[in-house]
């Protein structure tokens, strides 16, 4: 595209680029000032403020340390000292941490002053610590010295006290004597006084010396120590003087004590020197503490400087930020003003003058063109888009002039075409204007009424009058016709038909048009008129035909009903009315097919019960709606059989026909009836026959019925109600139910037993059987059957039932009796068996052998009796159904091993060996463990009893048969075997192969029977194979219902909880 600097686009682009440029400059200035402010804030928040905070924390820390130092100095023992020292250590560590942090955040020349001061502080603390340690040691020494001093002083007291007492006693004695005016030797008195005085003074002086020492030990001022030492030395001199006055023995005793005391005054280990050393140390400590205080002050100063430096920084940063902000604001304001100015200039100087004004001019030109003024002048001298638009508009204006001219041409052409069209139509056409004057007519119209163009402008009335004279044919009065035609012309309600004198029929269609007048079209309908007349003639003929058709219909004996396509009644014939018993009036009133049904209700087709009436009607209507159907039989309630057919006629109407074939049916039914009767008679030799037919209220019964029922001999039938009256009230319900079941098709026949009133007016048991005959749709239309006396059979049944009940009761009593007997027998048996066993033990221990044998027999007999009782009891319980099983999850191997252990004694008695084989997969069974064990034990016992020096195998495995899994337990022996003859009797109670066997082999003979019954109770079976002399195998098969080990554990844990 050619870039033209003068084009509007480029100029606007330049202007807006300029304004945008200003905006970008403003944005950059703002961004710069925000950035600067941000940096300053960053500096303040990340460096200056934390630095200032750390510095003041540091100052506080130092103050705390300095405040704590005197406590260290005053520590009176090691524990206190170390606790204060620990506290100081913590503070010092904190101090060092702060120093480090400060070093990282502040780089100030003041910082250099801080580090050495902190180091000195720490050193001072260490010094103080050392001094305090030393002081404490000295104090301890001093305490020791004071204790020794006390002891030494006590020693001194001891050495002097007796002498002093003696001397004082002597003196007292002499003074008392003197007081009593006795003669006292003065020398003696003086001597005594001299002896006592120095001692007393010595004691005083020594005591003063000691007090002086004690004062020294607590003197707080080192300078005063010398002053205190001086009286001590004087005391010691006086003591030594006093000592000289004492007798030798006293001197000998006391002077070592004095010497000991003197040591506390002078020398390296004297109290004085110790105290002076201690005080010196305290002084030094105080110096350090003072130095610390000074240091602290220095540190605080440094910190203050640091903090104020940081605050200054913050202030300067803030002011810097403010300056940047202010500068930024100014720059932005300037740029925005400049941009605004530029925009105003652009809009005013350029947009308004160079664009808007010209566009407005162009717009005015366009409106003029649109308003139809195509001759205005359009010109624009410039060289841009608006100028192009102006030239385009000029082109458009010229084109519009051309278009207007061509439109006028086209309108003329269209008018011509309209004339031609009107001329070419086959109908007469004319147009009357608003004043009802003819303005347009075509040739056809002119021909119809003999008009030409000279008639244009004539009024309709004039034209009508002219036409009536020469053209119009009417049998009306001319005035009346004129009025009627004029009225029609003005209102134009619809077509107007008119005949001309030449026989032409015209249909005049007139239309009033708004502001245009009236248009009239004259169509030639002569031909249509002729057709109408022909049709009228044909209709007359048709009516005649229909009349004769109805006569024919009435003559035939088919009932016929015509329905139109909406299934409304058109007509019916006489036979139809006759069949349905309807009068002509009723048919007249019946509008629809449905109405016919309603008229027929109660006397119609019997295919439905009352409740199903509506459904029945709907079904019939639907059937007819569907179309034709073939003839089929229907039966009415009054017993007529009709052949019914529907014919669908092409126009949608229906013809329904009904043909009464009742007489034909009667013959047919009679034949079938006799066949059925014959069949029923065959089935019920000695029984009364009955039958019932649809439509009959009575049930027909045969002669035999009178012999079993209370029915008068002359009656051949009876109603349903009469029959029900014969039945025992308690039995009535069941026959109704059975009948309904059968009629509804749920039972093929019905067969009930009930008590019926006989000729002797007593109820006898009868059996009532019957079946219905059904039509194809399942509807029962006839029923027949038999009634027979079953009194004898019923009696027999009662007897049998009673006998069975009695037998069952007896069995019940029997097992109860046995159970009770068992209790009564067991109690003495308890003693018999127990006592004989006891006696046998006695005899075996210390009695003669002779008793052993008979007692063994008594004991054995007792046990046998007990076994017998147990077995009989088990058996009787099984027989009475009283034995309950308590199944649980049983571990098979454990149970079998346990059974073998129990039978072990018996097995070994006959020198047999037992072998147990359990398949790997055999683990658990869900069964009653007690009874399961009983069966196994019984088989093992049998095998051991009938085998000598042989082998007994017990095998447990799973096997499949009849689609189920079984646990198979086989006990095989190599014993005497069983004869085939006895194999069948094996499981019959008390049937050992040979009655002597009971005696020979022991046992009750009930074991196998019980085992077999138990097996079948458990859903299993027991079988036997045997060969005489070879051995016997008993196999027990039980349903394999294995339980899991987990189940077993749960069961057993439950059991143990219980």
């Amino acid at each position: 595209m050619k870039i033209q600097l003068s084009s509007l686009r480029i100029r606007l682009l330049l202007a807006f680029t300029l304004v945008s440029g200003f905006a970008i400059v403003a944005a950059l200035a703002a961004s710069y000032s925000f950035n600067e402010v941000g940096k300053v804030l960053q500096l303040i928040t990340t460096q200056r403020v934390p630095g200032a905070v750390s510095a003041s924390e540091l100052a506080r820390s130092v103050e705390r340390i300095v405040a704590t130092a005197p406590r260290l100095l005053n520590a009176s023992n090691e524990v206190e000292k170390s606790s204060v020292r620990d506290q100081l250590d913590i503070e010092t560590a904190e101090l060092n941490r702060l120093v480090t942090r400060l070093r990282n955040t502040l780089d100030s020349p003041d910082f250099e002053k801080l580090s050495p001061a902190v180091a000195t502080l720490q050193n001072n603390l260490d010094e103080i610590d050392a001094i305090v340690g030393e002081t404490l040691r000295l104090v301890a020494n001093k305490e020791d010295l004071l204790k020794q001093l006390e002891q030494d002083y006590i020693s001194f007291e001891r050495s002097i006290a007796p002498r002093l007492l003696r001397a004082q006693a002597r003196l007292q004695q002499l003074q008392n004597a003197a007081a009593r005016k006795q003669s006292v030797d003065v020398d003696e008195l003086l001597a005594a006084t001299r002896a006592a005085q120095p001692l007393q003074q010595l004691q005083h002086e020594t005591s003063a010396f000691r007090d002086g020492l004690l004062l020294v030990s607590i003197e707080p001022q080192i300078n005063n120590l010398e002053l205190l030492t001086f009286p001590l030395q004087r005391s010691m001199q006086r003591i030594n003087v006093l000592l000289r006055d004492l007798p030798d023995d006293a001197v000998n005793a006391i002077s070592p004590r004095i010497e000991a005391l003197a040591r506390y005054m002078s020398g390296a280990r004297s109290l004085v020197s110790e105290r002076s050393r201690e005080l010196a140390l305290i002084e030094r400590g105080n110096q350090f503490a003072a130095r610390n205080k000074v240091l602290s002050l220095q540190l605080t100063e440094v910190v203050d400087e640091l903090v104020s430096g940081a605050l200054n920084d913050i202030d300067s940063a803030n002011s810097q930020a403010l300056k940047v902000q202010r500068d930024g604001q100014m720059i932005m304001l300037g740029v925005v003003l400049l941009a605004l100015l530029c925009s105003v200039l652009i809009v005013w100087l350029y947009v308004d003058r160079r664009i808007v004004r010209r566009l407005r001019l162009l717009g005015d030109n366009m409106s003029a063109i649109a308003g139809g003024d195509l001759h205005g002048r359009i010109s624009d001298d410039a060289d841009d888009e608006i100028a192009q638009m102006a030239s385009a508009l000029e082109v458009f204006r010229k084109t519009a002039i051309e278009v207007e001219e061509s439109n006028l041409r086209e309108i003329n052409e269209a008018r011509l075409q309209l004339y031609n069209a009107i001329e070419s139509i086959s109908e007469g056409f004319c147009l009357f204007d608003v004043d009802d004057r003819l303005v347009l007519q075509n040739n056809h119209y002119r021909e119809l009424f003999g008009l030409d163009d000279s008639h244009l402008g004539s009024s309709f009335e004039t034209l009508l009058g002219r036409a009536m004279e020469s053209r119009i044919e009417t049998d009306m009065d001319s005035d009346e016709y004129f009025r009627k035609r004029l009225l029609h012309h003005r209102d134009a309600p619809g077509p107007f038909v008119q005949q001309l004198q030449d026989g032409t029929w015209l249909r005049i269609t007139e239309r009033k048009a708004e502001n245009l007048g009236t248009v009239a079209i004259y169509s030639d309908i002569t031909e249509i008129k002729q057709h109408e007349q022909a049709l009228d003639r044909a209709l007359g003929e048709r009516d005649e035909t229909l009349g004769s058709l109805e006569a024919v219909m009435n003559a035939i004996d088919y009932g016929i009903l015509f329905l139109d396509k909406d299934l409304n009644v058109s007509s019916c014939n006489w036979a139809f009315r006759q069949i349905w018993g309807l009068s002509s009036e009723e048919i007249e009133q019946a509008k629809s097919y449905r109405d016919i049904f309603d008229l027929n209700y109660g006397d119609s087709v019997v295919e439905s019960s009352d409740t199903g009436w509506q459904e029945y009607v709907e079904a019939r209507i639907a059937e007819v709606e569907q179309g034709s159907f073939d003839a089929h039989e229907v039966t009415t309630r009054n017993g007529k059989t009709l052949l019914h057919q529907c014919v669908a006629i092409a126009d949608g109407s229906r013809m329904l026909t009904y043909f009464d074939i009742t007489p034909l049916k009667r013959v047919e039914d009679a034949l079938r009836l006799s066949e059925e009767r014959y069949a029923l008679a065959l089935s019920g030799a000695n029984e009364a026959l009955w039958e019932w037919e649809m439509g009959n209220t009575e049930i027909y019964v045969s002669q035999r019925f009178h012999e079993i029922a209370d029915l008068p001999a002359h009656k051949e039938g009876l109603s349903k109600e009469e029959w029900m009256a014969l039945i025992h009230p308690q039995d009535r319900e069941q026959i109704g139910e059975a009948l309904i079941e059968h009629v509804k098709g749920r039972a093929d026949f019905f067969d009930v037993e009930y008590r019926m009133l006989g000729p002797d007016r007593e109820y006898h048991w009868v059996q009532h059987r019957g079946a219905g005959l059904r039509r194809e749709d399942g509807w029962v239309y006839r029923m027949a059957g038999s009634v027979g006396e079953i009194e004898a059979r019923k009696q027999l049944e009662f007897t049998l039932r009673n006998a069975k009940e009695i037998a069952e009761q007896n069995s019940q009593f029997k097992s109860q009796f046995i159970a009770n007997m068992s209790h009564e027998l067991r109690t003495p048996l308890n003693s018999i068996i127990g006592i004989t066993e006891m006696l046998r033990e006695d005899v075996a221990e210390d009695g003669p052998e002779a008793f052993n044998e008979p007692l063994t027999r008594v004991s054995r007999a007792g046990k046998h009796l007990l076994n017998l009782i147990n077995d009989v009891l088990d058996l009787s319980r099984i027989e009475a159904g009283k034995l309950a099983l308590y199944p649980e999850h049983v571990e098979i191997e454990t149970l079998l091993t346990d059974a073998i252990t129990t039978a072990q004694h018996l097995i070994q008695q006959n020198n047999n060996r037992i072998h147990l084989h359990i398949s790997d997969e055999v683990k658990f069974i869900y069964s009653d463990p007690l009874r399961f064990r009983q069966i196994v034990l019984n088989l093992l016992t049998n095998a051991s009893k009938f085998t000598q020096n042989g082998d007994i195998h017990l095998r447990a495995s799973y096997e499949k048969s009849a689609g189920e899994e079984w646990l198979s337990l086989a006990v095989s022996d190599t014993g005497i075997g069983i004869d085939k003859v006895f194999l069948d009797k094996l499981f019959v109670e008390f049937a050992q192969e040979d009655s002597s066997a009971t005696r020979r082999y022991g046992g009750t003979g009930l074991g196998l029977t019980i085992s077999q019954r138990l097996c079948s109770m458990m859903g299993g079976e027991i079988s036997v194979e045997s060969a005489v002399g070879v051995g016997t195998t008993f196999t027990v098969k039980l349903p394999a219902i294995p339980g899991s080990y987990a189940d077993t554990e749960i069961m057993s844990s439950r059991a143990s909880m219980q």
């Binding site: 027998l825 109690t827 308890n830 003693s831 068996i833 127990g834 006592i835 066993e837 006891m838 033990e841």
Partner: protein, 125 residues
């Protein structure tokens, strides 16, 4: 010495069983009805009770229930002893609080086993 209380109304059974138990080294106390059994159990605190179920005055079931209900005797093991073979008697005896059930005529060795087992169980607890 281990003391057993035998509650029984049949004299022959008392004679037989107490004799045999004594020979096994037990001291045997005898009560002839339930009430007496209860009193003896309270006063003497036997190590184990052998309880007949059919008793005059108070039957064995009731006696067992009362023994269990009283704190003093609740811990003493009880072996029910009866000539009744009806399973419901066995169940009722266990429900009443008996630890085991033995049928008459007594199979002495089995009874001894049961006594031994119960005594050692009680000893463990």
């Amino acid at each position: 010495m281990t003391t057993l209380l035998y509650v029984e109304d049949d004299e022959d059974s008392i004679y037989m069983l107490s004799n045999r138990l004594q020979r096994e080294g037990f001291e045997v106390l005898v009560a002839r009805n339930g009430r007496e059994g209860l009193d003896l159990a309270h006063d003497q605190r036997p190590d184990l009770i052998i309880l007949d179920l059919v008793l005059p005055e108070m039957d064995g079931f009731e006696t067992a229930r009362r023994l269990r209900a009283s704190q003093a005797t609740a811990g003493i093991p009880i072996v029910a002893l009866s000539a009744s073979v009806l399973p419901e008697h066995r169940h009722r005896a266990i429900d009443a609080g008996c630890d085991d059930f033995e049928i008459k005529p007594v199979e002495f060795s089995r009874l001894l086993e049961k006594i031994g087992g119960l005594l050692s169980d009680a000893g463990r607890e």
